[in-house]
Amino acid sequence: MITTDADLLPSCRGGDEAAWAKLVERHTRKVFGLAYRFTGRVDEAEDLTQEIFVKVYQTLDKYREADGPFGAWLMAVARNHAIDHYRRGRQERARRAEDPLLLELAPAREEHPIAGLEREERARLVHRGLRALPPDLRLPLVLCDLQGLSYEEIAKSLQVPLGTVKSRINRARLELAKRLLARRHELAGGA
């Protein structure tokens, strides 16, 4: 029998430890992925993930089914918390010491081996480039291209003008595109 989030929620609210553990288990990967994209550091992303689940647990009673699926609500809570985290400036401090641990992307899904390798190589380059971007450029890009928020939503979340959001997203994409091209030219030159 498949247990849904909606099945687990009443037990979680009632203090059922096992139900809560199961709910967290279900969403940890997504929340951690968001936290890692935001922070660019594994250790900080782990801390942020824990903070997010503390927040979710403390506000479980505020979720109503009419708000939409629980997963979407949870990710909105996670996003808002990650943005607050960014505003508090901890990310800036963290960037002073580079995190030597670089996470590898999950294995490619079913596709042609060559195409898979190209996709992986490109994804790796983009991922590394994203991690190297300054937070002011990285965050709008993560919210836009990874989280699917509109420009207006991003402007509201980050409390910056719409024009600034557009310009930062374009600059971030250009930065990554130039890195991709530079790497290709490097490889072409070495061949």
Partner: protein, 207 residues
């Protein structure tokens, strides 16, 4: 259009949100600029890579740690918004507080300069009543009275009169000017002084 301007427009162009006239200008530039064409291609790849980015594997044990961390923190008790008292009630409370302070001074006032201390008590009570009516000047009044009281407690009882007179002058200055000019010939009544007669200085006493 130069390459820098073309770069600025690439994202909008990719998303189809560029104005048709600008779009045509950009297309014209791209047709003649291999570097910008290449950049546009790479930009499209980046966006595609980001939008189809696979998820990261969460570190082993993170889910258990996160679940435990959340459970060990107590859920916050919902706090209702604090009761907002109307301003007049705040002023009234401050006035009552001052009256109470005056009464307390009457009991434990300084032994030296008893007469002056009694006047101080009376003045404080009167000022408290005045404050209840003059709620919008509350903070300034409290500050001035604070100076008066601190002077008294410092033992410089002889200077209390000066402080109280300062306070009286302050209240005099605050009196609202009459909105309607008094008719000629009619006797303009002097503005009523809310605060009772203050401490008489040596000079006034002599007079």
């Amino acid at each position: 259009m130069d390459c820098q301007r073309a770069e600025e427009l690439l994202s909008d162009h990719l998303e189809g949100s560029l104005h048709p006239l600008l779009g045509a200008e950009l297309e014209a530039h791209l047709a003649g600029c291999g570097a910008c064409r290449e950049l546009r291609g790479a930009l499209a790849e980046v966006v595609e890579a980001l939008r189809s980015a696979p998820e990261f594997e969460a570190p082993v044990g993170l889910a258990e740690r996160a679940a435990r961390a959340a459970r060990t923190r107590p859920r916050p008790i919902e706090i209702r918004p604090a009761l907002v008292l109307p301003q007049w009630l705040n002023a009234a409370a401050a006035g009552f507080a001052l009256i109470a302070l005056g009464a307390a001074l009457a009991v434990i006032g300084p032994e030296r300069g008893t007469r002056a201390a009694q006047r101080l008590v009376g003045q404080t009570v009167t000022a408290g009543s005045s404050l209840m009516e003059r709620k919008d000047r509350l903070l300034e009044d409290v500050r001035v009275l604070g100076v008066v009281l601190s002077t008294a407690f410092e033992g410089r009882i002889e200077r209390v009169n000066e402080r109280v007179n300062d306070y009286k002058r302050l209240l005099e200055r605050r009196k609202p000017s009459p909105e309607v000019e008094p008719k000629q010939g009619s006797e303009a009544r002097p503005p009523a002084v809310r605060v009772a007669a203050g401490f008489r200085t040596g000079a006034t006493r002599a007079a």
